[in-house]
Subunit: 456 residues, 2 copies
Amino acid sequence: MTTPHEYAHANAERFLEELKTLIRIPSISTDPEHASDVQEAAQWLADHMRAIGVENVEVMPTGGHSVVYGDWLKAGADKPTVLVYGHYDVQPAEMKDGWTSDPFEPVTRDGRLYARGSSDDKGQMMTHLKSFESIMKTVGALPVNIKFILEGEEEIGSRHLYKFVAEHRDKLKSDVCVISDGGIRRVDEPAITYSTRGLSYMQIDVTGPVRDLHSGIYGGIVHNPALALAQIISKLHNEDNSVAVPGFYDDVIPLTPEEREELTKTAISEDAVRSETGVPQSWGEDAYSLRERVGARPTMEVNGLLSGFTGEGSKTVLPAKAMAKISCRLVANQKPERIFELVKAYVKSIAPPGVHAEVQLIDKGDPAFIERDSPEMKAAIRAYTQVWGATPIFIREGGTLPILATFRRELGVDSLLLGYGLTTDGAHGPDEHYPIELFYKGIDTNIQFLDEIAKI
Amino acid sequence: MTTPHEYAHANAERFLEELKTLIRIPSISTDPEHASDVQEAAQWLADHMRAIGVENVEVMPTGGHSVVYGDWLKAGADKPTVLVYGHYDVQPAEMKDGWTSDPFEPVTRDGRLYARGSSDDKGQMMTHLKSFESIMKTVGALPVNIKFILEGEEEIGSRHLYKFVAEHRDKLKSDVCVISDGGIRRVDEPAITYSTRGLSYMQIDVTGPVRDLHSGIYGGIVHNPALALAQIISKLHNEDNSVAVPGFYDDVIPLTPEEREELTKTAISEDAVRSETGVPQSWGEDAYSLRERVGARPTMEVNGLLSGFTGEGSKTVLPAKAMAKISCRLVANQKPERIFELVKAYVKSIAPPGVHAEVQLIDKGDPAFIERDSPEMKAAIRAYTQVWGATPIFIREGGTLPILATFRRELGVDSLLLGYGLTTDGAHGPDEHYPIELFYKGIDTNIQFLDEIAKI
């Protein structure tokens, strides 16, 4: 009998052509002019899923772009149910952004498929449909139950997904979620992200005089709100670059020695920071490594500043107000609302008496922290080890994936971030590309993973 | 024989009507649509000057709006030459700005003439032409030589005047300059401004990464330029609110006990600052009174801030750069270029090592400090005392009048700021008005001043 792996290898070329077909649909979710393309991609996926044996396939309305749902639940109630999340929408892309070839006409160069969505996330998402097909066409049945939730708004903040998940709790009920949408570092180094940061995004408004004043008449006797704002911001960090807000670190789960050791495998070098960003030297919390600072520690950033006169030349205004956007990246178990309350209280406590300072919460997202020794995670590790011939390393990401917290809260499931895309694939930029080798490795890993998780 | 004062009083009503005629010409220098009005005002002035006996009257080109020049030099080489400066252009004014009556149709209410330019500066400027006329029509000759330089671009920064003065040094050669364009506090309190502040206007640019970064990926390992800028700005002042730039105060002429005593006559109250600006409390250098802070001490203001994302909502950008406009108000004998060099060196010395900081000079103006015991000033004091029945108080203004430094540098003359307008006249705002009493007091004071200065 042909094994699922053999089937996948025998059909590798067709799989790639099918991915190219999906890629050719410019499903740019942020652009209203491409709304019909987004819908077409959803329809193509639904048709394709039906064709390979996924059942109960639906293109479901969300208030925005559709969710494509489908399942196969015939493994039996005693078998786990795996929820596969992916997204079929893509970032905008135009030749003038610096593409070498048409972003929506995939071409292969040096073993890489160049096209928008090739890596993020059409390529990685498709590995799950192709592993499903490979098992169904050979074994005739999956070893576990499976549900697919493929969304069309990931690139615009999953605007309607959180509500959608809450409204379809029963339909989406599962034991573990699998997401392949992200960043490993090398084609020969399997990696699983087990931690993403949360977000608490705030705006500070400092006001002083009721109107802009003439700096010649009032300069020196009125506290300048732009100066006061700078003075407030300068007190948000300590000398060692840690955040100075009292209580800020109270809920942070301390790094264990084992975890710090594991994180050295994905160490970020000083040279890498300099060459990637052009800064003269790195920065951050003295007591932590660069990888720990970006992945395992909460931070506070100034995202924007605005006050007074900002045009060419000069205007001697003493501005009536000054504004800063600031945001904290959070780690488990910090709560965005709690952090907002702490920052607000601190800013008000340090605001100089000659001005007023207000702080408002603009956006928030929970951090996620996935257990590394759960049976599901162990199943994933076994799958990787067999397919890649190497044990996956554990990664903490600096970014925020609020959907993880949503799945945790609404469905009670953890997500396994089985990334099959390189951090260097150029997602969101020109010449996005995807190592074709990873497309096939992903399919093989998924086949193996479903076998392994069936055993737990 | 009729005295000049008697002539002035007898012709008071006609003088006022002539002022109204000038006011009705909407000589708004900033508005290209009013260019012909500005020219008409210049022509009207030239005609009027010729009619009252001013000689060598010329409407002189400047590259922008014209300068009206005229003189009378028959007092003899042993008599001083007085240069009278004024401006015939006005700020924009429209009913929709909140005027009670047409800004260019002067009306009298409660002894005040309401109209744009009534105080700033047509009313005050005309006192000098009317005193000239009063002397010429009675005595038949002035006790001193006199030169008039009336410009049409004061409200747009005297754009072409500095060059004009430099190019006409010989023509404008004189012994003292008299300017009536400013702020006294009460109609019964004569005052002479003897100090105006200079200006050193700079831009600080902090740059870090070569492009905006994702705060989730680089937040915590790269020094955020907006944060770095705030940290730099927070070090520009000491705890006592004095400027922290080393050497900043080196050239400041210390206040004498007599001067500090004199300045108490124009004390600014804490209540006044709060009610005029709406701030919860005043601010500034602990060691100096509010009047001293605004008039006799140099300051440093933040005039503008710009970095990263400043729109509605959130964007988790780690900005590549951050910009601040800062300006120093200077006092004698500080030099704008020297202050710029000091600030630049200091900012560079405190810039964190993870960013680059650049400082550029955008605009500058010299401070002015007029000797209070010169023979010319004593002549002015005597004139005031005789006409007003009170000794003028000495005022230090917080604003900048670069023309004073230009006259000092190019012509070698000090300027006597004989203000006949109230600070509350609403110059630049709606319902600008001018106490008619001050128009007449100004004429009388000028007549007396020319007599007094002839004696020195």
